[in-house]
Symmetry: C2
Amino acid sequence: MKIIATKENLLTGIQTVQKAISNKNTIPILSGIYMKAKNNKLYFAATDLEIGIECKVPVQVLEEGEIVIPARHFSELVRKLPNTKITFTYLPEIIGLNIQYDEAEVDLKGWLGEEFPVIPDLEEEYCFEMDVNLLRNMIKQTIFATAVDDSRPIFTGALFEIEGNGLNIVTTDTHRLALRTGKINTSYDKGLNVIVPGKTLSEVSRIAKEEELIKIKGNYNQISFETEEARIISRIIDGKFPNYRQVIPQEYKTFVKTKTRAFQEIIERANLFTNEKDGTSIIKVSISDGLLQVSSKSQIGKVEEKLPIYVEGESIEISFNAKYLLDALKVIDSEDLNITLTGSLSPGIIKPGNHENFIYLILPLRTV
Amino acid sequence: MKIIATKENLLTGIQTVQKAISNKNTIPILSGIYMKAKNNKLYFAATDLEIGIECKVPVQVLEEGEIVIPARHFSELVRKLPNTKITFTYLPEIIGLNIQYDEAEVDLKGWLGEEFPVIPDLEEEYCFEMDVNLLRNMIKQTIFATAVDDSRPIFTGALFEIEGNGLNIVTTDTHRLALRTGKINTSYDKGLNVIVPGKTLSEVSRIAKEEELIKIKGNYNQISFETEEARIISRIIDGKFPNYRQVIPQEYKTFVKTKTRAFQEIIERANLFTNEKDGTSIIKVSISDGLLQVSSKSQIGKVEEKLPIYVEGESIEISFNAKYLLDALKVIDSEDLNITLTGSLSPGIIKPGNHENFIYLILPLRTV
């Protein structure tokens, strides 16, 4: 293996794959980045056996070959290299790379390329394409509602469900639920219902850059996300996602229209006066004719704010966990916000004012 | 106490004093910010009894008064306030503040202003003024060489020493020493020799903004740094700073002139291949006719770089702790760098190429 590369291309490759590098020290070679030089491309790969990321960048290949290099040292070194031609030569005597630039030489020890676990090609049971920016936005609007605690693994992932040419992404931690719908570019008849790990989706958001389309394919064990230059392969979470449709109320008794940012800022201030010790940030919301009042209190003090709003239907008092409200308000881009309620003990529904593609359901808190 | 203030002025006050707020919970009132309304100014003060910071901002005072408010909650609240008129009213029934803005009210509990420890006026045994940007630069070029470990307190501070109208700031952790000299605007005959805590100097750098002059005064127990709007008072570290002049070699056998950034980058890369486990990052520097070579090795690999330089005098091989070299290189602004050496076991001296106001001494490492 012998190649000539630029610092910029090397960095692109390293940064794309590095989140898949294993932090556990059980299998040393997984702390490395696999590199293969072929057809004037340098292929990068890394995996922790749950998720694998691959990509390729253009280089000048003088001699084909492969190697695995310790990720942390390699990435720190490349980051500090000058902007000059960088030559990599395989050193069989140390199973490593000789790296030359300007008047300098580095020898870096690694592992044999053939010892790296191969990221498999998937048996394809489904395959569709969609706009990459749309997918990134859908992930942003749902991923925060996954469970952190992995005692019930299905809630640490997001349901991917296809109906016709619409993709639904659904997440819940059993206290709230986020549902985002978006269009796919391929009509797909067979339906789809898989749970994708939250960590995988974070990585998809990160690697998907300015490309136009992303291809999603796989089977019921593994799923892959592919752009022109990169690919992520991940396991599917085993289990059955709850029937989320039956928990979303179809009717309401109170309808509120308000300004998203103004409401968010009021909740943020009210959240300062909640009892931090038990982890729930209780705020009280009172809705009456034309007026929304938010109040909270703690040992330190109390706050009470009023916001003029548009209201239809019954007056209501209801308590929420401020953190769960804020999570959703932060990812709603629309200027206006619709809130629908059906009573103090029933879930509240939040939607952007201008479209129907995002629904956020939040359970109220019982207060004494 | 009743005032009308802007969010911006309140934030300025809070941010200026907050680093002096005690993190320890032993005396609750010290976790608060003292505020006094008088003469259309709001005075802020905070102290952990080692360092005190005061400042004032313009407000509209409707009724004079004072209070102490929990710092963390108050600063989070102010940060989240809308950009509107904010009215503070003292609430004697809860010993706290009522804060009004737009359609909202916050009640925040505090402590009586009179219970806050007064930051004293200093008995003045010395007093001088200097350019605030110069002082900030002098601090930046010396503070990194103070000791982190406080087993010998004098090394956690910086020596302030006046000779004529020059101020010397000197720091050392016994492995290296930084000396920066700058002009003061007041001629001062009596000499000065005090050790100022490193933490105090970080704060001085932080609060000193674009003002032209800073006044430094105090005695041999306490020192204060005053700008137009803010004041820091700090204890002096008790003890005698070592005679640093006798450790700085006056002669040399090897003189090197090189480019600061190129040398820094080479050392940064060499630092990647040092043995991290024992905490010393040994790199070897070889100087011969017209050439500087830097090399290092670890279990992972090795690096060897060459840099063309200007050399006078003897060839030499010497080893340094790369981290100590980098600390100094990062704060040297000049394009060129002078290095003088007197042998493999004698300290090396680094100076900026264009002036004599900064000297950095670094002890070599013995290598087997």
